[in-house]
Symmetry: C2
Subunit: 197 residues, 2 copies
């Protein structure tokens, strides 16, 4: 016999991070017993989001349009580009400090053992940006992990070969820490204290 | 300007119990960056579940069919009916102890101040069951809260007026505790130690 819809709902909910069997069960019953309208709306928005949200063709962050709002804005400082690992880290920076430059989202960090090389991180696209001649400083905001450092070093070399300055956000970020979980004050400090790389 | 799909996804996720702004953000990025297939499947199953899962016409638990599997089974003891507040409490009992009788799901507890009276709990339907003449014992498994006790007392009176015995599951359940969060051993103990009500 096929699994009941209720069982299917509980097992599907477990694709959400931090949701185990117990929470999935609580969520399923909550929606069915107390908030079907919320469940319907969530299902519709989720389907649409999975379908329609792609990546910005210029900076690779999540975007519904070919170019994200930041890349298409004329008010951003085109001399400055900040390289982050993920779209959520871009959002953390955008929401917590007064950074007015552009971004480049790697979508990960160099990890040859996992088959993640320069191509997977879109570094050919970043190279095109560096060739355009507008960028004067690359802010390396990859995480303070071993792979994040290796990735920063690699991008430093790319920029250096083209005579472009790179800076690394200061280690106000705890060693091994993920940017996503850092508070705004720490992050502002790390940005202000960035040094040549 | 309309909220972006990403913002809509994050705010919709907050209809899930225990999910605040921070978790909703993490979930949205996780699905979009790492598990679109899981997100697509979850959205489809959720939409279908909200649409197709209704309530059993006999016991009022969640069911895709008019009659749930328990109500349509010929192997259950039709002399015994256990009254619980919610479908998830029914599931807890089903999954943790060897109970072979039937159920009745109230969908709440008497709370005049919130406009929840006997009709809202389907007690007219329960009365019909008691009139059928098969039931010999009503196990009252409402929660050990003030309203749960009032509800149990009310159902006891309904059964008593028809000469049917009622029992109350033992207070192995901590005062004010919700059945849903009790471990199986405690629950088995509470069932075994049930007393006349
Ligand atoms: Zn962009
Ligand atoms: Zn039923």
């Amino acid at each position: 016999m096929a699994a009941s819809l209720l069982d299917q709902l509980m097992s599907s909910l477990r694709c959400l991070p931090g949701v185990g069997a117990k929470s999935a069960q609580r969520m399923a019953y909550h929606l069915l017993e107390r908030d079907r309208e919320g469940g319907r709306r969530l299902a519709a928005v989720m389907a649409k989001a999975m379908q329609q949200i792609g990546h910005c063709q210029r900076c690779r962050t999540l975007s519904e349009q070919e170019l994200c709002q930041i890349c298409s804005s004329k008010k951003r400082d085109s001399h400055l580009i900040c390289v982050v690992e993920t779209p959520s880290e871009l959002a953390v920076i955008e929401n917590s400090i007064d950074y007015r430059g552009h971004y480049f989202v790697l979508g990960g960090r160099l990890s040859p053992i996992d088959g993640i090389g320069p191509r997977e991180l879109g570094l050919d696209l970043l190279a095109v940006r560096l060739e355009e001649g507008e960028i004067e400083e690359v802010i390396l905001a990859t995480n303070a992990t071993v792979e994040g450092e290796v990735t920063a070093r690699y991008i430093h070399d790319m920029a250096d070969a083209r005579g472009i300055k790179t800076t690394r956000i200061a280690q106000g970020v705890p060693m091994g820490g993920e940017l996503e979980y850092i508070d705004g004050a720490t992050l502002a400090h790390a940005f202000a204290g960035r040094s040549n790389f």
